[in-house]
């Protein structure tokens, strides 16, 4: 499951876990774990020095 997708659905579209699971055809457990990892990674990208962050961002988000 793509991190960007779960983050957009949750934080910007305001979908519930159930809705995200339906949209992405993934089990709710997968939605939850993807969301946790996506948040962790985005936070790391946002708080890192610019050069490093760019490299990391191109790798996942």
């Amino acid at each position: 499951m793509r991190f960007r997708e779960v983050l957009i659905l949750r934080e910007l579209e305001g979908c519930s876990y159930k809705e995200i699971a339906a949209i992405t055809s993934a089990p709710i457990g997968t939605v939850m774990s993807s969301l946790a990892r996506a948040r962790q990674r985005l936070q790391r990208v946002l708080t890192q020095p610019a050069g490093q962050a760019r490299q990391e961002a191109s790798h996942g988000l």
Partner: protein, 136 residues
């Protein structure tokens, strides 16, 4: 972060997905867990920066509805021809001319789909013999 709840329950809590009892449990846990408090605050701050940043613009309501209506229309359109031409063709080939059928379309479909011309109905992937059998 040491606490395992930072990867699980914490997200359910901040997304309002926990039931009241589990949310209350987690709030009690927060009193004694500095890890969870730190992660929760960090996540909340990421969330508010994404939401505030103007990165995203929701489609206006009218546009959203229009697109959804068109999507619904397209779904129907892709389903309808699968049934209708077959019925028209059947009516035509078995000598019935249905009053409800579209006059210009039925002959066209019937010519395009003759049993015995070596192809199936073209829609469902059925064998030629099967397509022919349905019309005789």
């Amino acid at each position: 972060m040491g606490c395992e709840l930072t990867q699980t329950v914490l997200h359910g809590y901040m997304d309002g997905e926990l039931d009241a009892a589990r949310a209350a449990d987690f709030e009690r846990h927060l009193i004694s867990c500095a890890d969870c408090v730190a992660v929760l605050e960090a996540n909340e701050s990421v969330r508010s920066s994404i939401q505030r940043a103007g990165l995203y613009e929701r489609a206006p309501r009218a546009l959203r509805q229009k697109v959804q209506a068109q999507l619904a229309g397209n779904t129907q359109a892709s389903v309808m021809p699968i049934r209708k031409p077959a019925q028209w063709a059947l009516a035509r080939l078995s000598g019935h001319r249905s009053r409800g059928a579209v006059p210009g379309l039925a002959p066209a479909v019937a010519t395009a789909w003759q049993p015995g011309n070596g192809v199936g109905c073209g829609y469902c992937g059925c064998a030629p013999s099967l397509a022919a059998a349905g019309t005789s």
